[in-house]
Amino acid sequence: MSREVAVLGVGMHPWGKWGRNFVEYGVHAARAALRDAGIAWSEVQFVSGAATMRCGYPGYVAGATFAQALGWQGAQVNTSYAACASGSQALAAARAQILSGGCEVALVVGADTTPKGFLAPMAGHRPEDPDWVRFHLGITNPTYFALYARRRMDLYGATLEDFTQVKVKNAAHGAANPNARYRKPFTREEVMESAMVADPLRLLHVCATSDGGAAVVLTSLDYARRRGLKAPRIAAISTVTPRFASNEVEMPDIATDSAVAAEPHSFRRSIAARAYEEAGLGPEDLSLAEVYDLASSMELDWYEYIGLCQPGNAEGLLRSGATRIGGRIPVNASGGLACFGEAVPAQALAQVCELVWQLRGQAGGRQVEGARIGITANQGLFGHGSAVIVRN
């Protein structure tokens, strides 16, 4: 039996700093996805929401919140939370419901309204929470991004120029994306001369926090066939946890596992590997990839983690132009987080939306010619892997 499901519709609310209620963005995206699919809201049998932790109780129960806002119609409901990987988990829940025969049509929605500046931990004196402790010590999210970047520089000879070229590339891609928040091409000089945040990363290397919403309509392959539709299919969803002993410093932890009694493992490398295994595909089959460039330097890490090249060769791959639109394996054709900024529960779904538009040939000025198979990769705080493979 096929383990694939069809993506009949995708939709977004443009990313920005709109300052409105997250529910508005979610409903906007959901209606856009339903219109795109040609499916009425009343036909949806399962609503799967990606939760947000910054918008009060309605955010904790996002699935029901979106269902109520769209108009209660008795659908079954689910809400998933996995930090930045929430969207993939909401997608996985919908897929499982379809594949187990529990429904044929599912709607997956994620949306967020974010505060200005650094993401900060919950209030109070909570020394038992590593997320609280690291902020108490002055260790913010960009600290971790910068640790990975500096390590690339010292071990592999990465340069500030390389990180800057990632930003310039993604800005050029995103300039043609109507849903991106930043649609302005950046020059090398503008990026290099922006304020230092966490050495070696400048402000324009680090992604912003954004408002936005994304939605996906999933159906069984049978349903799509009956409707006479040939749609891109979800071939794999990886939601793996790390494997002990995890050998990289991971947000929000102060320390790694100890590798005294177990072999060290790279968590990020295992995320895409699980998706490839499930789909029976490999990096050589990809037409494009959407990866989590929380900082421009981390896009280079992902080239290696998703198998586009060997460790230490990401800078060479970037410099060759292979990861630009028009190159062998374009990465972040959407513009990535560099152009979107992060709207946590919507981001993994936004990556899937981009792959679907690309596979349908509907990506306009940022179209990757002949796109057939794409992968997304991201990671949520506290051990949530996320990779989705979409294929024609």
């Binding site: 913010t140 600290t143 304020a195 102060i254 100890s258």
Partner: protein, 146 residues
């Protein structure tokens, strides 16, 4: 007036100088933990250990990576006024085979650091509250020892 000294985070390190980080070690498989394991079960999936010893971790290690904080972090960080940027290092402890983050001792700039550099643990003030200095562990290049 004598100033009092207290840990900024209770139970994570000793307050003698030089300090030690306080960890746990599984009595069955030898895995180390920092901070101390409070849950009572070893996290090594191949180990069912439930007995742990309190241990002091190695005071020295090598830099895994490093950076700094140029922007003032949000609370619960208690920032001096005006804010002074500080360096941060991730240091790998050889015997324990784990990496521990921490601020770098005051006055040490990023330009002095590199991956693989030997570092040692020191105690410095993280912030002050009334007549009490809240102390925290920091990493300092061994070569910068006075």
């Amino acid at each position: 007036m004598t100033r009092r000294q207290a840990a900024a985070i209770e139970g994570w390190y000793t307050l003698e100088n030089p300090p030690h980080l306080l960890g746990s070690r599984c009595a069955s498989c030898g895995t180390y933990y920092f901070p101390r394991l409070t849950a009572g079960f070893c996290r090594n999936p191949a180990c069912e250990g439930t007995s742990f010893k309190d241990v002091q971790l190695s005071r020295t290690g090598r830099i895994w990576s490093y950076t700094n904080a140029c922007y003032q972090p949000p609370p619960p960080f208690v920032a001096p006024d005006p804010f002074v940027p500080f360096a941060i290092a991730a240091v790998e402890l050889g015997e324990e085979r784990l990496i521990v983050l921490g601020q770098v001792a005051a006055g040490i700039e990023v330009a002095r650091l590199r991956v693989g550099m030997p570092m040692e643990l020191v105690l410095e003030t993280l912030y002050s509250e009334g007549d009490t200095d809240k102390l925290v562990w920091k990493w300092r290049p061994v070569e910068a020892a006075p």
